[in-house]
Symmetry: D2
Subunit: 339 residues, 4 copies
């Protein structure tokens, strides 16, 4: 059951209704902009209470608080140097792995020059084979922090392990949850207990509902600073691209949830020369930002070289993406104005 | 083996080389802008012949004449009222099915007003169930032809059957081969024997190579007026959209083949309100046109109602798509200029 | 609407009800063991009529006459030398392509020795590339017919084209519809107009409902001698096997339809050494027969060499499959007896 | 590089070669039955060393020690009451979740009566939604331990979290890694540091290579008591079954790795009445055991009710599976004898 209250919310009545719902055994009640009582099908309300309520939905989705029914307004995540969500468009860029103090510093500067306000880089790397480079660990976190600070940027980095949440949290502005961990529910709960924003990547074969339920795992712990990352899904054809970029999921997600949706064309395509056109394509699809990999020496990249943009390619991409974003916003505003 | 000749091609020498290749038993030799001898690995050339040749590729793909190796320049298809391919951007619109003379006439006028030069409509419909509307047949062809002529447009309509190629060919400017018939090789060969342009839809689970090989079936018969249509693929998630729109296939196809690539957001998404954003997304991805469904009375559409754009929505979509196309062209030209 | 009549069916009343249903405009009424009026939701019945009726289903599937609601009993297809369906288990074997008169004769003899009663072989071949061997055509049909006759067997061969239905029908006992043509609706209708049994292969990405609807296209024309062939589906992993053998579809199909279900482990796996274990696995899954490729000289097979069984491997496979079939039948009978 | 030594292995020479390989910087050397030096392409050997070596493979897969090249013989996992691997066939059964002390005790007794030697049950449950039952936690472990001990059985239970490895390890004989955690690399490493056997479930969209690489993560830490569980993959059709049971992966896995392969028909199908036929199908496919869910009161099961076998169904299933296993073994032995 999701109850939308009339605004401004009558807090006394909200508390009254909350108490009634909490009295129903074995159910979870969440209070946010509105109120969700997961699985509750009926509640006895007074006329006064009914008067304070806008609408009641009883067939809410299992990802109740993640849905737009619970919160019609876009979630806006505010960081020291960036804003994610709503009408903002946020660029995140950096190397796949943090490779050295100097390298990540150089890459952060490039990222900033191209318009990014968030620098990315992996210190703990999930790799298909146990024998490939697994990341610099805490050193990587320090180097990335320094690179972000020196450039007046925020940082995002992957946390792979419940045991690392504290450590990574000491350094990062945003936790990234990788595609392979999208249903690592222990990890989702753990980052959900912090108040650090979380960028949640869609799993390789995760349905849209799976992704929203994974976000709900985080939100249910109280951390509602979540954004979603579309990074390509696994299909029957991966000869020419690493994954199938599911851009059609973006307008769907924008409709179903208030959490921001970011596009990751680097992992979705896996081939440098397709990253720019598809980063552009993500803009009219409704992405509220992009996260891309950059590298100045692909031949010697520690990981994922073939999909990184070189500095000049990256700046060409952001030039195009920002120009496109401006036009798309204008075109969409004209549609609204005409209605 | 694909042999690229130096331009201007020395025709005498080309004929000489062709004769040598044709003397090799059980191989197919195709002469186009350049020459392909399918499966031939070696040929003895004189110095004079070598001098007239730009390059020789021996590991050509099975879709030899469809590949850019055989023809580096974009295929341009010229119709009475439209051009498809190269730097042109072509809008095709119309109802899913031809429903009546009046209705398709009205829809063609709407299509034209929104900037389309080609009107689409099904007279023979491939339907999952044998008990649903199968199309008006020849009457449908007549009505669509009349609607195209009255509006100064070209027409495209599906041919489902070898036995109908002559009949449909009497009326249409372009054959459409539907997704379910993409590997109906008899049909591909039959339309390949005509000189009517063919719009070939990607099969639901066709790989990029499958699609290019299907195009090769047509081209191998001599009809090189082929364009490809990306219309979504079948994946594990179809709860919110009918298919997964594989926009990432567009830059890949543009690279591998000289045939034009058109986007079909209507079938890819299957939901009206996602068609416009995704039609826009197809533009920076590199689509050279769009084919969309329109209808002015969705509740009474004979087929596929839930994905058609209403006339005003359609015009809003084309306004946005054309504006986007203009900007994307400019942005890409600036990149080229900067190199 | 599917109406099951009490048995023995009161024919006079059945005709009465049929007349009522046929009077409802634009609906299809099919009379078989029972009666289906596609899409009809309501009919006015007298008490006498009601008394002759066992049950009425109004939410029938679109594949109405293919479903067990329309015909609870297994379809049994009787051929001169074979029976398909019900408790029968039917072995079909032969080369992928008919390669020569002598070769197919030799292969038919091997097939027969291993227990097959039906010999398979392609005279018209659907090939991904237009430049690979496309079959011997009518000569192939003649050779296969001769091989079947000489060994007292029935023959099955693929028909790819509406224009070939008559020609192929002159020779064959069973039409095979290939996976790529599963939704070639014109072809389905055409073979549906004959009374020659049809083996319908599941398309590469066909859902179970798609397959049943394709069968309905044939049955709706009056040809109810149809059997279904599971031959593997396309998924994200085809590194080690050509397709994913969807054996779990077999018990589902057995439940939903009365048409027989045959397994094709050769195409499903695409690798000789996996064919025998998976042919065995198909038996307890509920397959009512197998269709396999055999060849005595894999290195020189015209097509699909890597998946064919050599004669001795084939006989080892059938020995195992028949032994397994016997045990599975006994075990299942004990379960029924215990209930 | 994988070096197979002649048997009996000359230990002195093996140590000599190991020292040489370990001197090559930044590579991992693993000594097992044979020796793997991951990524090493060349090593200088004396004639004496060469004489002690059977074969050297330089293009080893990334899952080096998991492959049959590293260990040609089947891994055999010996537990107090069970043996997994080789020619053994191991039955594992129990409820999806541990629901209460009494219930799991009753279910373990049923499991034992049907021939299982290992009882399964979840104490920590990975659930798509955060609001569904998440398991009894440590109490669940205690109840399952008691049920196993009382029946002279081993227990298997899922560990979802690095932080729980010690706790779960105190109670269980076998760790289960669930499909959603198959690429939770931190967790794989952590269970790899214990010497408790691990049952690793294939991820929903994991390729065969992904699964083997995940096993390698465990094995690379020193724990080589690993077995693999095929539990169905995600494909385009899940209308009638929860997943697509990829039985064809079983003979492939048996060939590529020495680790045992177990079938999980309960999760693969998700529908009780398909579990028995598909459990049977897994036997000739080469499964070395089964893991199934049982429940005596489906309507009140805490989770996954629709796929559990009732006690009598379970015993009917094992009767059939054991009988089939006996026959398949005999049939395969006859093939070997005939060669």
């Amino acid at each position: 059951m999701i109850i939308q209250f009339k605004t401004p919310v009558n807090t006394a009545i909200l508390k009254q209704v909350q108490a009634k719902l909490e009295a129903i055994p074995s159910h979870v009640v969440v209070v946010g902009p509105h109120m969700a009582a997961i699985g509750v099908k009926d509640v006895d309300l007074t006329d006064e209470e009914k008067g304070a309520i806008e609408s009641i939905t009883t067939n809410e989705p299992s990802y109740a608080t993640t849905s737009r029914m619970f919160q019609p307004e876009d979630t806006i995540i505010t960081l020291p140097h960036s804003v994610i969500g709503g009408d903002h468009f946020t660029m995140m860029a950096g190397p796949c792995s943090v490779e050295s103090e100097e390298h990540v510093m150089r890459m952060a500067t490039v990222a900033k020059e191209g318009g990014a306000t968030i620098v990315r880089g992996g210190a703990f790397k999930p790799r298909t084979s146990p024998y490939t480079f697994q990341g610099l660990g805490e050193d990587g976190l320090k180097f990335l922090r320094a690179a972000a600070d020196a450039n007046g940027m925020d940082m995002i980095t992957e946390v792979m392990d419940v045991a690392h949440v504290d450590l990574v949290g000491k350094y990062t502005d945003i936790f990234q949850i990788g595609a392979r961990n999208m249903q690592n529910f222990s990890l989702l709960k753990e980052v959900g207990k912090t108040n650090i924003p979380v960028g949640l990547k869609r799993g390789m074969s995760a349905t849209i509902d799976d992704l929203l339920n994974a976000a709900e795992y985080i939100a249910a712990q109280g951390n509602r600073n979540v954004f979603l990352i579309e990074r390509g899904i696994r299909t029957f054809d991966n000869k020419y691209t690493r994954n199938t970029f599911d851009l059609g999921a973006i307008p769907v997600l924008r409709e179903l949830t208030h959490f921001p949706v970011i596009a990751d064309p680097s992992h979705a395509l896996g081939v440098t020369r397709y990253v720019t056109p598809m980063a552009m394509a993500a803009v009219p699809a409704g992405a509220q930002g992009e996260i891309v990999e950059i590298h100045d020496d692909l031949a010697h990249a520690f990981s994922d070289g073939p999909q990184a943009l070189k500095p000049e390619e990256y700046k060409d991409m952001t030039r195009k993406v920002f120009a496109l974003r401006k036009l798309v916003t204008e075109l969409n505003e004209q549609t609204v104005a005409a209605d």
